[in-house]
Symmetry: C2
Subunit: 640 residues, 2 copies
């Protein structure tokens, strides 16, 4: 990998504006419906009331999950990104109200966690493995940096810094040993470091990373001395998460099974895991740490080559919401939490910035258009926590969850989508286009303000045009990602075709640009019938349909059910425009359907007895499923 | 179903002699190697020593699993069947020695269980759910009846009757409530009833059946009062077996979730389940109980149509060794315990006798030639407990197990195989041929001793000839089972062809027979490519090869591995004789093999990129796998 000092920067909200037929409705819903709805839920669920009770010492119990504070922080982060793009005074006022609540709940020494302040003030930091104090701190830090950047205000940042200082005094080589059960604070601390330049925060993030997995395990000791030390939390639950069947300590749930630099497989709770890797990448960027890079590369290979759904979903098991074994990717019982897809986007974004390699943006794109985007309904008000690749018709999005991690995570990624489109070198003389969507991005090579305007009907059409607007001729390299799914492309620079290797990763157009110069690229967008590795036995005899970055699925409302009785003819599948689901491209084709009575009272029968009839098949984008009549859904279609 | 009074009898060891090219080596190994070896293991494992320690009150701890007594009983039962066929005085002497040990360990009140006598004499019957007192009693009763029938001796029978009387005094409507955690005593009691005519034993069996699943559950109460009542056993283990994840009582592990007549699906530990159904069938036969029949039919439908491997293996989950959900039949993690296949044979044998329907003998045959027979090595000295349908090469038979239920269960079924060949009406004027194997069977219609001699090279060849030997012309019906796997057959009676419906179940030849009359039938034995129900997602895009009753598999030693990279051409598969594995018929054909490097560093790829090369494919009978070099094994072969 490249050394850290060359890490790419990203164009943030001030430099990018999205205006895109596909994304505008998502972003509008996020801005106009989701944030408002989630604010109401914060009130309704008691998450805001917790801050009031903690501040006033007024009567009242803590409400909700013990990490409910983080719901408010994530909402603040999402709202800050939105405000940065579209500064609405009403939004700022509401943020200030919430920040006031938070600030009032902070204890004099900087500590901030409403569960402990309300319920167990004496038990701070006694249960790092199972409780979420450091996790909530991390989300506070991310929110504080986002708010500061969006508003210029220090109101939330000062709260965050006070807490960060408190955490820094509490933990470290010269203080008590510890690290978070659920990672997140590592990234939060690096963000504080970037804003303040205070190296203590970076050092603390590094400490948390390197202490994890060392002998003796902090969590193992917590578990062993649970009752004796009068810890907060639930020993039964702790044991469930951190003990194997033989009752032995197993830290893999929280990536505590071995020192992080020795980890070679992605293990445990998938959100924790990706947040850990994101934190490792953040620290690596700042410290130019080769060993961290190498570990991340190994982990990424394991995840993307052996433990990831074709949708980019990760964490295949409900039990522990976790990664399991290589190639263990059941479709109907897939967990594939929306938050884990978000974590994968976060991690891949950092990997691209470190390495400048397109493969990371490819995986970002896969997770974004599929495993992540399925997490939210088209109208933005309902959410999947769990994203199976096959459903019997009983799986539906809900408005909010007792464990409300996913909805605000969806909100903060959508609200900051503009930051995922482009990355640049420090001198802004190299611009990487990572996502294709209608947008303008501004860079300043040699101090000249240059706008690149992107127009496309992606993800339905592979044609993308980019036009440069500059007051004077300027030299910079435009690096266009050639998506992994693309077999052929045509690149035209100022009307002149150029030949391009489709395996190029990025194709580079380097030149002196003049105002109005245009590049157009057409990524051939065929229907692809994907097969899974032979070891993924759940996908044997099946194909997944993909076109562009979008994975497709059958829904019962368009097809004959049971869907498992349909065998598709791969050759017949063609893409066509439609007016369903806000006008998605659908795939249509034919196949054979075996009526259920052919199998009545039979479990096994000779092939000759299995009669079938012709059937039409219609597939819709996976992300858009469960937005119409309830029914079966299937991604991996039978071809046998 | 037919009323119980018409239940078929079976021709037992005194009336049937097996002389068959396929089975002789199995039966010889069982007689000459297995019983001797298992006797040594009884000594080595401490199972016999337990009886000595219990009898003498000598110093010593109980050794082995708490139901180790049953290993000795099952060995005695198997040895009795063997002795009945081939009365060897040395065998009788050894049985007598073991019986002396058992008799000496019996307590004055008839109670007999060495674990409790040695370790917890005061805790009898305090833990019916998890301990195995009634289970061991049932095996004692079966052994006692077998020994009595084989030798005429009452030595073991009187021990059994004393214990049965004790159990009868202890449990029942007018005594304490209870029923066994592991069924088996029900069948044992019916056997005692048949030998003695004592209705108390039948009534007690019926009581145990009908009390199961009633509110309040005996096991639930035991669990709730475990410590307070100072019970024997392990509450943690009890909880693991009988509580769901939420910590609520769930009796399904031991079929205690609902009254047995209301059970509609096969649930829980598969050996327990089949032993329950066997006991229900036994009681139903004696009491002509319509409701029990109907329940058994419902359960059988559920098992054979939704919860059974193509090998006849049942109980798909390691966790609880149990049935799971409909169509949940994973191949690599299949549990499919050998004992459960034995239980299925026992149950199906009874169902055929109740109903006279061939479908039960079909399923008996399936389990016998596949799921059961795989349980023992060709030389008879090593055993599978677990019978997966796919192996990575690490699964091998072992000589004995700490939990040694399977080896003696294999021995007692093989030793009594002669009893599974024919069933007859009470008047012996109708003879049902259920299994095709070289044998002579004697019936006495109207008092005339008639011998039917069967000759065949089954299961490799579908030609079967039967010749009648009779001192005078005699009228009886010969019912020949038309195996479910057979599509076409030719029936010749005294040189004259008769047309037969292959779906007949049994084809009947009714006539006046003269000495030397012959019937020959040829069951066309094609290679069948079986598909599984579309809901069995583990088998999607795969076929299982079957020829006659034998299911085949690929082994690594004959094929290119990884076997999951092989796609077979179904049309190419042909049967051929071989000299491997004692001369089994093998299946040979061709297919395509994808070298592993095609998938290097890829989890998903478009179909066009998946190159392959031609490959030869050789399949051997599933029962014979793991008798040569260790390696991968696969039953369900890819066809996509």
């Amino acid at each position: 990998m490249k050394p850290a000092r060359d890490v790419l920067g990203r164009l943030d909200s001030t430099d990018v504006t999205i205006d895109d037929a596909f994304w505008n409705p998502r972003l509008e819903a996020n801005r106009e419906v989701v944030l408002e709805y989630q604010y109401e839920q914060l009130e309704e669920s008691g998450a805001l009331e917790n801050f009031r009770v903690a501040a006033d010492d007024r009567d009242g119990d803590f409400q909700g999950m013990r990490f409910a504070d983080s719901d408010a922080y994530k909402w603040l982060e999402a709202t800050s990104y939105t405000y940065e793009n579209d500064p609405d005074p009403a939004l700022e006022e509401r943020m200030d109200e919430v920040i006031d609540l938070i600030a009032a709940a902070q204890e004099p020494d900087g500590y901030l966690n409403t569960y402990f302040t309300i319920e167990e003030p004496g038990a701070r930091w006694t249960n790092l493995g199972e409780m979420h104090e450091l996790y909530c701190a991390g989300h506070l830090f991310e929110a504080a940096v986002a708010h500061h950047r969006a508003t210029g205000s220090d109101r939330l940042l000062s709260v965050a810094l006070d807490f960060a200082d408190h955490v820094d005094e509490t933990f470290g080589p010269d203080a008590r040993r510890g690290y978070p059960g659920h990672e997140e604070i590592e990234t939060g601390l690096v963000r504080l470091y970037r804003v303040t330049g205070e190296t203590r925060y970076l050092d603390l993030a590094q400490y948390f990373l390197d202490e994890r997995g060392q002998e003796p395990s902090v969590f193992e000791r917590e578990l062993a001395t649970f009752e004796a030390d009068d810890r907060a939390g639930n020993p039964k639950w702790y044991r469930y998460l951190f003990e194997d069947k033989a009752g032995e300590y197993d830290g893999s749930y929280a990536q505590d099974h071995t020192p992080i630099r020795e980890q070679e497989t992605v293990e445990g709770h998938a959100v924790r895991a990706t947040y850990l890797y994101m934190g490792m990448a953040d620290v690596a960027m700042e410290t130019d740490d080769e060993s961290l890079y190498e570990t991340l590369e190994t982990l990424w290979q394991n995840m993307t080559r052996k433990r990831m759904y074709v949708t980019g979903g990760i964490g295949s098991s409900h039990d522990g919401e976790r990664f399991t074994d290589d190639y263990d990717l059941p479709n109907d019982t897939a967990y594939a939490e929306t938050c884990a897809a978000v974590g994968s986007v976060f991690w891949n974004e950092r990997m691209q910035r470190i390495t400048r390699e397109a493969r990371f943006a490819d995986e970002l794109e896969r997770a974004l258009y599929n495993g992540f985007l399925a997490g939210v309904s088209l109208d933005g008000t309902e959410f999947f926590y769990v994203n199976p690749l096959e459903s019997d018709g009983d799986h539906h999005r809900k408005g909010w969850f007792t464990c409300a991690c996913c909805p605000p995570n969806v909100a903060r990624l959508l609200a900051s989508l503009d930051e995922y489109v482009y990355t640049v070198t420090q001198d802004e003389r190299e611009l990487f286009v990572n996502l294709y969507l209608g947008s303008t991005g501004t860079i300043r090579p040699d101090g000249t303000e240059v706008t690149v305007t992107q127009q496309t009907d992606y993800p339905w059409d592979g044609a993308v045009s980019l036009e440069v607007s500059t007051p004077e001729p300027v030299t910079f390299d435009l690096h266009l990602r050639v998506p992994e799914w693309c077999r052929n492309l045509t690149l035209t620079v100022d009307g002149e075709d150029r030949s391009v290797d489709p395996d190029a990763g990025y194709v580079t157009v380097g030149r002196s640009w003049e105002d109005g110069d245009a590049v157009s690229v057409e990524f051939e967008m065929d229907v692809e019938c994907l097969r899974a590795h032979p070891n993924v036995t759940n996908d044997t005899g099946r194909v997944a349909l993909q076109r562009g970055p979008v994975v497709f699925c059958l829904e019962e409302t368009d097809n004959r059910a049971p869907l498992s009785n349909v065998v598709v003819d791969e050759e017949s599948i063609e893409a066509t425009e439609s007016d369903v689901l806000e006008g998605v491209t659908v795939l249509e084709g034919s196949g054979r359907y075996t009526p259920p009575d052919v199998w009545e009272n039979r479990l096994y029968q000779r092939e000759e007895g299995i009669t079938s009839e012709p059937v039409d098949v219609t597939a819709i984008p996976y992300y858009a499923w469960d937005n119409r009549e309830p029914g079966e859904m299937l991604v991996w279609l039978r071809t046998d």
